[in-house]
């Protein structure tokens, strides 16, 4: 039996044929299988959007929360149980718009989780509004004269914040993406994987072909982690006809939980109430 079968969910998919989410879903299963993480050994946390439905389409523990709030929910879960393997599925609107503030501060904390942002440059679930990563000039039912604001650059922002794992993938290159996801899960600390994907229904500019013509793998996944942040920033600012994909930057540093001296093992959820300990405080 293929160990990938254990992730198969019988919950019917809600995505359009050709949606980039399918590629991301399969790459996730590949990564989990390679790492031999059982369904019951992972917690997937998501916000709201088509991307955020991902956890329903594989077998795993799931906390499908509110629009923009996946990262705080995941942070809370991590505080409660530091041993959790957490994957967050979010979208460009969910993570860089509604959840923008949490994106910034989760990176500051260096919470040990893997964030997959299904970046399709549009709001799919709500039918086609612009998102923070939409191309300038893109016309939508709301932005009749085309998007006017400059796009959010998630990799550059993450690098500037000192994020310890910054990567970009493409839903159409499943093999490459699965390696990125695996590396992200293995990385101790906050791992950002921004994933280009087409939205066949609502984004007529950044189509599958548009991405295929532009993405290029940074280099064969090298053995040594890329440690040049300035180079990474330069790559992140390449937003024209050559779109690099791969691990832009990696650095291990103390995680959110490492930095809480009082919260060393065992996890909070395994600790116990002690009447005497409280009575000593009440008596003082």
């Amino acid at each position: 039996m293929d160990t990938r079968d254990r992730y198969e969910s019988d919950f019917d998919s809600e995505w359009c044929p050709g949606c980039g989410n399918f590629g991301i879903l399969e790459a996730m299963k590949d990564a989990l299988a390679s790492l031999n993480i059982a369904p019951h050994g992972v917690l997937m946390v998501s916000g709201i959007g088509q991307a955020a439905k991902t956890p329903h389409f594989l077998r795993c523990n799931t906390f499908h929360s509110l629009h923009g709030r996946a990262l705080p929910a995941a942070t809370g879960a991590k505080l409660a149980n530091r041993d959790l393997t957490i994957i967050v599925n979010s979208g460009d609107g969910d993570c860089y718009g509604e959840g923008g503030n949490h994106f910034i501060h989760a990176i500051r904390r260096n919470v040990d989780l893997t964030l997959l942002v299904h970046n399709n440059g549009v709001y799919g679930l709500t039918k086609g509004q612009a998102s923070p990563t939409s191309t300038v000039g893109m016309v939508t039912r709301i932005q009749h004269h085309g998007v006017t604001s400059d796009p959010f650059n998630p990799l550059a922002v993450a690098l500037t914040l000192g994020c310890g794992f910054v990567a970009r993938g493409f839903s159409g290159d499943r093999e490459h993406l699965s390696h990125l996801i695996q590396a992200g899960i293995e990385h101790r600390g906050f791992s950002l994987i921004d994933i280009f994907q087409p939205c066949v229904s609502f984004n007529k500019i950044n189509t599958f072909v548009w991405y295929k013509d532009r993405v290029e793998r940074l280099d064969p996944l090298q053995e040594r982690a890329p440690d040049d942040r300035q180079r990474a920033l330069t790559l992140a600012e390449q937003t024209g006809d050559r779109l690099p994909i791969g691990i832009f930057y990696q650095e291990e540093k103390p995680t959110f939980m490492d930095r809480m001296p009082g919260l060393a093992a065992p996890p909070l959820v395994d600790r116990h109430y002690d009447a005497g300990r409280l009575q000593a405080v009440l008596d003082s």
Binding site: T75, A80, I104, V281
Partner: protein, 568 residues
């Protein structure tokens, strides 16, 4: 004749008013007296006007009194502000050099004396010593009070403050006899001084809270400051979030993963948290939210008190779902209510909201000893409790609505929860059957939740005039009843700590016989009165309402209520 003295210390923010109050409060405690210290301050760090008023007695005090017996004025503005509250025999202690006593005003050069013992910053401690002398406190009690207050600071600082309090005390004792015969005792005190915020923090620990996520907001921050100071000794994480949305969602995420979690905020922060409240309800994740109320709307009066969020707390968030709402009236009640909030939220898998306010959080109360609970019961299941973990459904439709709650990544059972409407197994669903099933299931918890509610408590005679209130006005209500009865009226108070689910049957029974029902609330529309009318059909006859952000004085309540009784 019982002792009942009010000392008011007034000055500008930054003059150390609260320190004077704290030293006096310690002296009272160590001297075997009861004290209630109420802080009044503005939303600023320097300047303006703030004051502390201490009500001192040999009997328990649970509300402030307007009449001032000793006004310690750290600046002239304080005399202008509070001079008119002085009792006929009241005294004013003021800063001035080389000035003779003028009638009831006594002068001492606090700052000059402070410089003599170590620096102008000690002026407030000098004033504290002088005030205690006027209150007939022995010097050695003053020294003990200072040691108790400054005990944990660096050594030099304590010595200087001891010298300062002695200087103030001696100078005053040499020039003036004590103004009032306060019965200071020398036996070891059996009481503790506690601010309301600390009572809530200790209650949270007694409820086995392990995650407190918050965003700073007056007057709630003190709760988190107390928890943070204790966190090293407990399995507790205190995390300051980037905003209230993060705080509330962290709380839900942590509870989902298996620990008791809470947040504390004020009305504006609670506004931001309402969606997360709904998330907790939809995913049936237990959480405790403390709303320390202050006047609004919007930024309102950040450092003042109010009770304007009762109906908001009961109805907050879109659509409908069961929840608990509590409002403790004293530190003792707060310690108990927090434990109940965590317990019941866990047991029924619904959110619990605890309403307090600035008056409660920032006042210093005299309390007795508390006991920690022997054990804390948790309401979760694991693989071992299931016939087939692989078939576990988090939202199984059980008759009482409380589906067995497993935790993620603790065994084979997969836990799936989402904020959309869902199937029993937690996956998204829009079908009519699933929607109706889940709405019914969530609501099915209602009757049992109602069974957990404590009816309002009555104090006083069953018939006649009834003062009805909730939350932190407990002390003021009871004292108002005492004042009314002393004037010959038949009066009682009915005080609510459990607001939702609303125990309508018990309330109807409690209201029976009360000839005149008068609401006493710190909001503009008598929100509890509206709730009682909605839930029982019984209306009130009048209301004593206060929306100026300051705490109630019992005499004011009694006067207004008596007038209503006369004209009824």
């Amino acid at each position: 004749m019982a002792t009942d003295i009010t000392v008011k210390i007034g000055g500008a923010a930054g003059q150390g008013i609260q320190t004077v109050g704290a030293i006096l409060a310690q002296a009272c405690r160590l001297g075997g007296l009861q004290v209630l210290a109420v802080n009044d301050f503005e939303s600023r760090i320097r300047g303006g006007h703030s004051f502390v008023q201490l009500r001192i007695s040999d009997r328990p005090v649970a509300a402030p009194s307007r009449e001032t017996h000793l006004l310690v004025a750290m600046d002239d503005n304080s005399v202008a502000r509070h001079g008119d509250t002085l009792d006929p025999r009241g005294r004013i202690l003021c800063e001035a050099s080389n000035r003779e006593t003028e009638g009831r005003t006594v002068f001492l050069p606090f700052t000059e004396m402070a410089k003599g013992v170590g620096g102008r910053i000690l002026a407030n401690t000098v004033a504290a010593g002088a005030a205690l002398s006027l209150l007939d406190a022995p010097l050695d009690l003053c020294r003990k009070a200072v040691a108790e207050h400054f005990g944990k600071t660096e050594t030099g600082r304590l010595e200087k403050n001891l010298a300062a309090v002695e200087a103030g005390h001696s100078a005053m004792a040499a020039a003036h006899a004590a103004a009032w015969p306060v019965p200071w005792q020398s036996t070891a005190p059996a009481t503790i001084l506690m601010d309301g915020a600390r009572a809530l923090a200790l209650g949270a620990l007694a409820g086995d809270c392990r995650l407190a996520a918050f965003y700073p907001m007056s007057p709630a921050t003190g709760i988190m400051a107390h928890l943070a100071s204790l966190a090293d000794r407990f399995p507790l994480a205190v995390e300051q979030a980037e905003d209230e949305l993060a705080a509330a969602n962290m709380m839900v995420g942590a509870a989902f993963a298996g620990v008791r979690a809470m947040t504390a905020t004020s009305g504006g922060g609670f506004c931001l948290m309402t969606e997360a409240l709904g998330l907790a309800a939809m995913t049936e994740t237990p959480v405790v939210i403390v709303n320390a109320q202050r006047p609004g709307p919007a930024t309102g009066l950040p450092t003042r008190t109010g009770q304007g969020d009762l109906l908001f707390a009961i109805h907050a968030s879109q659509d409908e779902f069961p929840r608990f709402v509590f409002a403790p009236g004293s530190p003792d009640q707060a310690f108990a209510v927090m434990q109940r909030a965590f317990e019941l939220s866990d047991k029924y898998q619904v959110p619990a909201i605890v309403l307090v306010d600035q008056y409660f959080n920032d006042s210093l109360f005299t309390i007795g000893k508390w006991k920690s609970p022997e054990s804390v019961r948790h309401y979760v299941v694991a693989d071992g409790d299931m016939a087939d973990p692989a078939a576990y459904r988090r939202f199984e439709a059980v008759p009482d609505g409380v589906s067995p709650r497993a935790l993620p990544c603790r065994g084979q059972a997969l836990v799936v929860a989402c904020s959309d409407e869902h199937r029993e197994d937690g996956h998204i669903s829009e079908t009519i059957a699933d929607r109706n099933r889940m709405v019914e299931k969530r609501n099915a918890k209602g009757p049992a939740m109602m069974g957990e509610m404590t009816p309002p408590e009555r104090y006083g005679d069953p018939d006649g005039l009834m003062l009805i209130g909730w939350g932190s006005t407990l002390g003021a209500l009871r004292e108002s009843v005492d004042l009314l009865r002393a004037d010959g009226l038949t009066a009682s108070a009915l005080h609510f700590t459990d607001l939702w689910p609303f125990p309508a049957d018990a309330v109807k029974a409690a209201l029976e016989g009360a000839r005149i029902r008068v609401m006493v609330e710190q909001n503009g529309s008598a929100q509890l009165g509206r709730l009682i009318r909605e839930q029982t059909g019984i209306d009130h006859h009048g209301a004593v309402l206060k929306t100026d952000g300051r705490p109630f004085y019992p005499a004011d309540i009694a006067r207004q209520a008596a007038a209503m009784a006369k004209s009824a």
